[in-house]
Symmetry: C2
């Protein structure tokens, strides 16, 4: 048995993830690891809409891992109907954030449970169980952390910027309201502190909007630095472009060069190594880090599992290197 195969059968891993891109790699990892995977998910995008507590990145993760996700969008449910939204429009209520009829069950039931005193961690665990997901899906915190962007249209809540304004406003700064006093999810911290942890994988999510909120929760960055396992990140930027979403545009607006190297440097001090796409192979030398150059574009399920396997093998190599 190779070291790689052994780690596939035994090691425990933690992933940090945002929405669509992160959920894709999480699905690959979950296929290989099952209940040995813990996914810490960004909740900076969470918000209340129509009085319902909406947690977009958690739901994207759950739908993706249970094969219920809409394959065309990467979020929301497949075969969705939209009669609720049509009726909401009749009542003159805002329709810019669209909640599908099936998807609505997640928000209604989560809102009810949170109001009854359950934690977001408990609600998320219940959902994962209902959908037969073996991996642990965890919110980064049970406390509210809200991503707010300063733009040329003023301060906007994340979903206002992302959905209502379609990422058109120019961003000058990104804030995580509430982060300073948020307590990290204790199960997440415990997973990062496990003595037999084999690796931490920062998924190819938007570093500024999806991963930074997780790192802004006091204790999580420290836990990453303190853990014995290698910490690797996968670039969400391929050949200067984001696979999906406004990552590249935001990097430019924030005065940064939109490339994989900038992403790696953004995580300076946290990473043992970095994973970048074959298109960016030439940039590997610019990094003062071990690198894995591989195909990072995930179209099919096979792509997701292949990238996941490459990441796990890379972690095994890094562990071996550390032992020498």
């Amino acid at each position: 048995m190779s070291a790689g195969d052994k780690c596939l059968q035994e090691g425990r891993y933690v992933a940090l993830s945002g929405g669509v891109g992160g959920a894709k790699l999480s699905l690959g990892l979950a296929n290989l690891l099952g209940d040995r995977l813990t996914i810490i998910v960004n909740t900076g995008d969470d918000f209340e809409h129509l009085g319902l507590y909406v947690s977009p990145d958690i739901d994207t993760t759950i739908y993706t891992l249970s094969d219920l996700v809409n394959p065309d969008t990467g979020w929301g449910r497949r075969d969705e109907s939209w009669n609720f939204m049509a009726a909401i429009a009749q009542l003159g209520s805002p329709g810019w954030f669209r909640l599908g009829d099936s998807d609505l069950a997640m928000h209604v039931e989560r809102t009810r449970r949170l109001r009854a005193g359950e934690s977001l961690t408990a609600v998320t665990a219940h959902y994962a169980e209902c959908f037969g997901i073996a991996a642990k899906v965890l919110p980064m915190s049970d406390d509210p952390v809200r991503t707010i962007v300063d733009t040329d249209l003023g301060r906007l809540a994340f979903q206002e910027y992302f959905v209502r304004e379609q990422c058109r406003p120019r961003i000058s700064a990104i804030n995580f309201d509430g982060a300073v006093s948020a307590r990290p999810c204790q199960i997440a911290l415990a997973a990062l502190a496990e003595p037999n942890l084999s690796g931490v994988i920062i998924c190819p999510s938007n570093p500024y909007l999806s991963v930074d909120p997780i790192l802004a929760v006091p204790g999580i960055k420290e836990a990453l630095k303190a853990c014995d396992a290698p910490v690797i990140a996968i670039s969400p930027i391929i050949a200067g472009k984001a696979v999906k979403g406004p990552t590249a545009k935001i990097m430019e607006q924030l005065g940064r060069s939109a490339d994989a190297v900038t992403v790696a440097r953004h995580y300076a001090g946290l990473l043992s190594a970095f994973v970048l796409d074959k298109c960016d192979a030439g940039r590997a030398v610019d990094l003062m880090l071990p690198t894995l150059v591989t195909n990072t574009l995930m179209r099919s399920l096979d792509d997701k599992i292949s990238l996941a396997r490459a990441c796990l093998d890379f972690c095994a190599e890094l562990r071996k290197g550390a032992q020498r």
Copy 2:
């Protein structure tokens, strides 16, 4: 112009109504009266389900008056889809009270507005406006009144008895929790006190479960007694049977004879006159009240308008009689 035609063009009327049967006559009345109709609706059936504030009789009234109602059931929306309920079942949440995808918008938005501090009266007025309803649709009270039945299965909230248990338990008593301290809807009281009021119509709803909760709200019974206009009721019992629902069964369980005369006597002291079906023409002599014998079964829209017109004409006659 006959007195009847004049009253159709000028008079103001108040209806007291429960669910399906009451909404049918309300529709007939609304067709003839438009904004000169005020409907005071039972809210004793209201309850919280999946964390949402559900107001069944108000919604049945609104859907019926806006021609959105499901013609097969008399409640809920036509052309409804049920994907939310399927998703709720996946989350292991209770499915005995079914909320359709379109219908859900009413409950979500009402819950949000009530939590934001709006009154049920204001929310209901907003809905009526959105659906182009000219008649005033009013909850009997903005305060919670909850119909609770004592049964051989113990105390049951109305919807538990009516929907979950399908009216199977045997009722020994009916309570209206909260009624003693509930304040009547002020717009309803004002409508009943109007000097030019032409009539009050107690719709053919269940007297014990739908109309009694309205009459239990302090001030409403007194306003009915004090108003100058005739107060008439239409029997929901035709030839010893309820057109819909458990009215006849409940009357028997409460030790009462299930017939139109019992209904009239139930409203003793409140009524100027009573309306009963042609099937029960022979029972008119048993009442110590003026009676109108007419077709009270409402199948088509024409039936509803015909019965409404007969009720308005009857009120006009009663007013003329009172002036003599």
